[in-house]
């Protein structure tokens, strides 16, 4: 937990934060409405004798009381997919519509890409990309299990992604669920901080900036880009968005989210950020008893 000390000045009730980080997380699952409605899924869970609790902010997100969430009929049928509660936030903020063209730039293993497809009623095009071929096989497995027919899967570096392979030359929306230092997953992976270093933060921040810039360029004017990470480091969050504001045509916009969270920072370590960074969301583990996440919604302005 030592690396997290640097966040003492920015986290309200830091002791509660640390204490939450040390508590393991339960089994969260998302209802996959491509395969079954929420109602039918809940009925199937009850039939199997599995207790659940629906998240207040999103009826499709469940907390499951079972030791083996992968060995249930609901999971076998693809009615449910194991996905951490906060990990379901970015697609909801992106708010894709049926028929649209959506880019998931860092998509493997596909929890959010299949959620995007479900939010679009599996109508339209979700281009699910990842640069890691091994992780793409997990993405493909999940997509087929969940019955997502609107996904097109590509294997490329998102930083210089080419749209030449398709007939269209821009997306309506893009999600950048960036590779990051994963500090916020400490409750799921107790060794998440083992290789923590400021150098690792700096190097992944460079990749994040490149991917976010490309996502903004590849999205139409008036379109939406959501940038998210599962880490607390401002270098990977506000500083990356600040860089995009300086280099690309976009602005930070508000969004509604029925969860407790803190506003993004406007300064860190002597660096000042645009005041609009306050509209981004820092979700800390102690606020909703979840993992940690950072989410930003951008509107493309040219």
């Amino acid at each position: 937990m030592e690396p997290l000390e640097r966040y003492r000045p920015i986290v309200d009730d830091f002791d509660a934060f640390l204490e939450a980080c040390e508590r393991p997380l339960g089994n969260a699952a998302r209802v996959n409405t491509i395969k079954a409605s929420v109602e039918r899924t809940l009925e199937a869970l009850e039939e199997e004798g599995l207790a659940y609790e629906q998240a207040d902010w999103n009826p499709r997100v469940l907390d499951l009381e079972t030791g083996s969430p992968g060995s249930t009929w609901t999971s076998f049928h693809g009615f449910t997919h194991g996905q951490e509660e906060v990990s379901a936030v970015p697609p909801v903020v992106l708010d894709p519509q049926p028929g649209e063209r959506v880019w998931d730039s860092c998509a493997a293993p596909g929890g959010k890409a299949t959620q995007l497809a479900a939010l679009m009623d599996d109508e339209g095009t979700v281009v699910a990309n990842d640069n890691n071929l091994g992780r793409i096989s997990a993405l493909r497995f999940n997509a087929e299990r969940l019955g997502a027919t609107s996904l097109a899967v590509t294997n490329a570096d998102a930083r210089n992604y080419s749209l030449n392979r398709f007939d269209f030359d821009e997306f309506d929306r893009a999600l950048v669920d960036a590779p990051c230092t994963c500090e916020g997953t400490i409750r799921k992976n107790p060794d998440a901080l083992d290789n923590w270093s400021e150098g690792a933060i700096a190097s992944v921040a460079g990749v994040q900036k490149g991917i976010l810039r490309r996502a903004i360029q590849a999205t139409r004017e008036g379109g939406t880009v959501v940038y998210s990470t599962c880490t607390f480091a401002p270098e990977e969050n506000e500083a990356v968005v600040q860089h995009a504001l300086e280099e690309e045509d976009c602005r930070v916009v508000d969004f509604d989210l029925d969860l407790e969270y803190s506003p993004g920072l406007t300064e860190w370590d002597g660096e000042e950020f645009d005041s609009s960074l306050e509209r981004t969301a820092r979700i800390y583990p102690h606020q909703n008893d979840t993992g940690g996440f950072f989410v930003t919604k951008l509107e493309v302005t040219a």
């Binding site: 009925e43 992968g70 060995s71 027919t149 097109a152």
Partner: protein
Amino acid sequence: MSENDGQRFDRLPATPAERTVEGRVSREEVVDYFEDRFGIPPETFADYTFWEKGAGKIWIYAGEAPTPLEIEAIGMTCLRTRQEHWKPTTDFVQRFGGRATDCVIELDREEARAFATGEDQEIERWEGDWGYLIGAHTIADDLEPIGIGLYVHGELRSMVPKGRQREL
């Protein structure tokens, strides 16, 4: 006629008459097969396109894409052709098999469990066609497809792929 290129996705021709690749099936034949064998209404597929990548492997896709296309995947694999008996995939059957009216075998609790773990089992009561059947069971008051099976000589062989099998 040209040869099939196994490295890329090619959209299926609408009808057999429009075929340009040796041995490639048409959209019409695929949709007819699902209707003839399983009674799945052809309208089900009105908004989907069908593609071949890899010899005989057919994919179903709801999105936009030009043909040919060299990417990792589009939509899901749905059917294996270029063999005597065409074989639907378990994931396709789970996604679209709910609309089937024929060649659906209803399994009780224990049978369903065995089917999902990949076991073969004797089932004498089936009086329909032999060959590929949709294994289904009742869950939350409705029949739900589990996957694809092969019925021969009084035995239902589970064709649920290894990676999809589960102890339930």
